[in-house]
Amino acid sequence: MAFDVRLRVNERVATIELKGELDAGTAARFHETVDEAAATGAIELVIRAEQLSYLASAGLRALVFARQKMGDDVRIAVVGATEPVARTIKLAGFDHSIDLVDA
């Protein structure tokens, strides 16, 4: 099933745009992109999730990696998650450490 991930960095804000289904088969690409974002020295990571249609625990592991890699001082926000995607993030208790915006 289709998955696409794109990274852009502007004024030390890294934005990762996710499209499609983030599961065990596609999480490695998201993980690599998080690694690239961290390497830019970004002070904020924005994950655009408006077009993320599915999120499995493998994708959540990449969010943990993002928090580990970028450090506690970097704000991480997931923007525009659909209701079931936001539910999964909340169920895992990640919303204590990652901001859910417009979800």
Binding site: E21, A24, Y54, A56, S57, L60, R61, P84, A92, G93
Partner: protein, 170 residues
């Protein structure tokens, strides 16, 4: 921290006993003609998603319930590949059915006897995210997404059953 399966409300098994297929599916289902056999590999698990989504659509599950059933099936299948077969070659058989009040999906595999629920871990909310052990999260998501999650060892095969009520509106 182990997740207390007996603490989950409104599910068979809340008294702490092992939830079996019979607790989930009232009438022992015949093997469904809608069945799937796949190698135990992550790369082909999208076939499980397709199977479950088609079944759920046929049953008229509302979108959130269908999403949760697919999530549970995906996590369970991933768990069988990663923690059941542990990289060894093997096969997963999936079948499913639609009853008047519920939809069920059943997984069978020949990996060593392995109750996926034993690896379940509830999120450690008091631990910073970067320090959390996240093993068991997938099974936790699966367990909390469906109305029943049963496991039995039948003639040496692992049999796990997921059930979603058709009226589910959580």
């Amino acid at each position: 921290m182990a997740f207390d399966i007996g603490a989950a409300a409104d599910r068979p098994g809340r008294s702490g006993h092992t939830v079996t297929t019979a607790d989930c599916v009232r009438l022992a289902p015949r093997r469904s003609p809608a069945a799937l056999r796949i190698p135990a590999e992550l790369a082909v698990l999208d076939q499980v998603a397709d199977f479950v989504l088609r079944l759920g659509h046929r049953a008229g599950l509302e979108s959130n319930a269908l999403y949760r059933l697919r999530l549970a099936a995906d996590e369970l299948a991933t768990n069988i590949v990663m923690h059941g077969y542990r990289g060894a070659t093997g096969e997963i058989a999936v079948d499913g059915g639609i009853d008047p009040d519920q939809v069920w999906v059943r997984f069978e595999d020949d990996a060593p006897a392995f109750d996926p629920r034993e690896g379940m871990r509830a999120p450690a909310l008091d631990v910073p995210l970067a320090e959390r052990e996240i093993g068991g999260l997938g099974v936790y998501l699966a367990f909390t997404s469906v109305d029943c999650f049963a496991y039995e060892l039948v003639a040496g095969r692992n049999v796990s059953t997921l059930v979603m009520r058709r009226s589910a509106t959580r």
